[in-house]
């Protein structure tokens, strides 16, 4: 199972890289929508971190079938946590977008430097 081991590291590294890419967009981009897109990538990366740790070798999704002995299940808890986190993510995003819409209406732009220049 060498491949699984490599995949293990690869999952974590992809998490790290995607997280970084998202954060880069948040810090660097001045367009507010782009910042939010970056933020949602940033949050998705964390989902990957949690879901990666739930995997058990040879396991299946944690749905118990009666009468089947010796089933191996992957860990259900990180999945529960991420279900919550996904919904939290979309909620934050919706709120952020509503603000962007209002900013566009009152400033006529959604570029950060132009907004700062306007006041």
């Amino acid at each position: 199972m060498k491949l699984l081991e490599l995949l293990g590291y690869y999952n974590y590294w992809v998490f790290a890289v995607v997280l970084t890419v998202g954060l880069y967009a948040v810090i660097r981009k001045r367009n507010l929508i782009k910042k939010l897109i970056g933020l949602s990538i940033f949050q998705s990366a964390v989902f990957l971190l949690y879901i990666t740790m739930d995997k058990v070798e040879g396991g299946t999704a944690p749905i118990i079938q009666k009468g089947v002995p010796d089933q191996v299940f992957s860990n259900p808890l990180p999945q529960v946590l991420i279900l919550t986190a996904i919904v939290v993510g979309v909620s934050t995003l919706a709120l952020g977008l509503a603000m962007v819409v209002r900013i566009k209406e009152s400033y006529g732009t959604i570029e950060e430097h132009e907004i700062l220049g306007a006041d």
């Binding site: 949050q43 949690y50 808890l77 990180p78 603000m99």
Partner: protein, 497 residues
């Protein structure tokens, strides 16, 4: 189960479930009345809880009947009771005073949503404080954050929007950092319950993930708590928020994040990681000192009343962190006391600002001339709270500054220089409070300005004075908060389990 046993759950459930009901209360005034009733009820619950834990007991509540670590546990001890008191107290007092001010700043048809968001904010903050589960803290942190974004975005000025957007971005990054940290610890310990983490983290052999987790959690919470230099979202957000929202949030929102930081650090990391105390001091102490000095000096030159007070909050967060960074019983006591006293002082100051805003549209210091003649009672309350912020003997602020100095002296080597920092920054506080006093009392009123006597509405003024008097009361009789603060310190560093 008896009613008393249910209190920790009710502390969260009462304001939270009231929020959807408030949305339905469309007729004008009803939404306010409902929200205030819920706010006062949760304040009463907090008082009852504080009385129950005063003798050092911890109230534990197993949500859904599932014992920790399998279910989510709520825990109320002396530290949480103290923070609960100031969260619900600030929420209820601000609500009680809010009606007239909110009527001027929020359109009637949007008010039910506004008050619902307020209650959610209250429930979220209370939920963070009572929770003993790392992930549950994240969920309630998001409830309180979303609610505060909504509340701040209610500000009448368009500048509120970019300010709150920045807060949203930084707040979400903070929360996500916290989530990463919790994930890493969960990965190494297999549990989410704080006490259980504390027990199991000692068995972890590979420490790299734990160290990285400690970093992420500390930075994430520092972002939420507006610790210098991660405070950049705070001044604008507080300045442009509706006045009553500033009262509520400035009094308690950042302190709850600090509460989690202190609790998480001392429960999970300290005495489990080698040299962690030293590292924590190394990280927190310089930030605290820099925050105190830089923010105080910025406040000295700030021209807008609300932003001046908001900037001073960053310095006050520095004091709280400074106390915590000593990792000693005296330090934590000072921290906890300063949380309480600063909430009183800053809450009172912002209440007075809300009063002033009734007759002064522009809150720049240069425009406030003649305020003392028009609104003598408001200005007097403002001065009382200002004295408490400086730490003049006889006010609540003095108690915590004194404790802080004592703790600094105990901390050894750098003790005297830290005392110097505290004294210098107190002098700076004298300067910026004096600038406000000068503007209110001695500045010439602008020529066309109305100079007749015109106090703020009675309801608002009464609450403002009540808070101002509490500043003096707790300066003379600090027994209750002091008992809770001592209890907290004993729990967190005193070796109690």
């Amino acid at each position: 189960m008896t009613f008393m046993e249910h209190l920790p759950a009710l502390q969260v459930v009462v304001p939270m479930l009231s929020a959807p009901l408030i949305v339905l209360l469309q007729p004008r005034g009803l939404a306010w009345a409902g929200a205030t009733a819920a706010g006062l009820a949760s304040f009463a619950i907090a008082i009852a809880l504080a009385m129950a834990v005063l003798d050092g007991q911890t109230q534990v509540y197993a949500m859904g009947g599932w014992a920790a670590p399998y279910g989510i546990a709520l825990e109320v001890d002396a530290f949480s009771a103290l923070v609960l008191l100031l969260v619900t107290g600030a929420g209820a007092a601000a609500l009680l005073a809010a009606r007239v001010s909110v009527d001027r700043q929020i359109e009637p048809e949007r008010q039910p949503l506004f008050y619902a968001a307020w209650l959610l904010g209250l429930a979220g903050l209370a939920g963070i404080v009572v929770s003993a589960d790392a992930f549950n803290i994240f969920v309630f942190m998001e409830i309180s954050s979303l609610a505060s974004y909504i509340l701040i975005a209610g500000g009448p000025d368009r500048r509120a929007l970019p300010a709150v957007f920045k807060y949203l971005i930084m707040g979400t990054i903070g929360a996500t950092f916290y989530l990463i940290g919790v994930g890493l610890i969960y990965m190494m310990t297999g549990t989410l319950n704080l006490a259980d983490m504390q027990a199991r983290i000692g068995d972890v052999v590979a420490l790299n993930p734990i160290l990285v987790a400690a970093g992420f959690i500390t930075i994430g919470l520092a972002l939420k708590a507006a610790v210098f230099p991660l405070h950049v979202w705070l001044p604008n957000a507080y300045t442009h928020a509706p006045h009553m929202v500033t009262v509520f949030l400035a009094a308690c929102a950042t302190k709850v994040a600090l509460y989690v930081l202190i609790r998480f650090d001392s429960m999970v990391f300290q005495d489990r990681l080698s040299d962690h105390e030293f590292q924590f001091t190394l990280f927190a102490l310089p930030l605290a000192v820099l925050g105190i000095l830089v923010a105080s000096s910025v406040a000295m030159f700030e021209g807008h009343l609300k932003r001046l007070l908001a900037t001073s909050s960053v310095a006050q967060i520095g004091y709280i962190l400074l106390g915590a960074s000593f990792v000693s019983e005296a330090g934590i006591t000072a921290s906890a006391m300063h949380m309480f006293n600063h909430a009183l002082a800053k809450g009172g100051l912002f209440l007075a600002v809300a009063c002033l805003a009734f007759h002064f549209r522009d809150l720049r210091l240069s425009e406030l001339g003649g305020a003392a003649r028009r609104m003598p009672l408001t200005c007097a309350a403002l001065v009382v709270c200002g004295l408490s912020l400086i730490g003049v003997p006889g006010t609540a602020g003095f108690i915590s500054k004194w404790l802080l100095i004592t703790a600094a002296l105990e901390s050894g080597l750098w003790g005297w220089s830290l005392v110097a920092v505290i004294l210098v920054s107190s002098l700076m506080a004298v300067v910026y409070i004096w600038r406000i006093v000068e503007a209110l009392y001695f500045q010439q009123a602008s020529a066309e300005g109305d100079t007749s006597f015109a106090e703020a509405p009675l309801q608002l003024l009464l609450v403002t004075w009540a808070v101002a008097l509490l500043n003096i009361f707790f300066g003379l009789f600090p027994h209750l908060p002091l008992a809770l603060a001592n209890g907290s310190a004993a729990l967190l560093v005193g070796g109690a389990p």
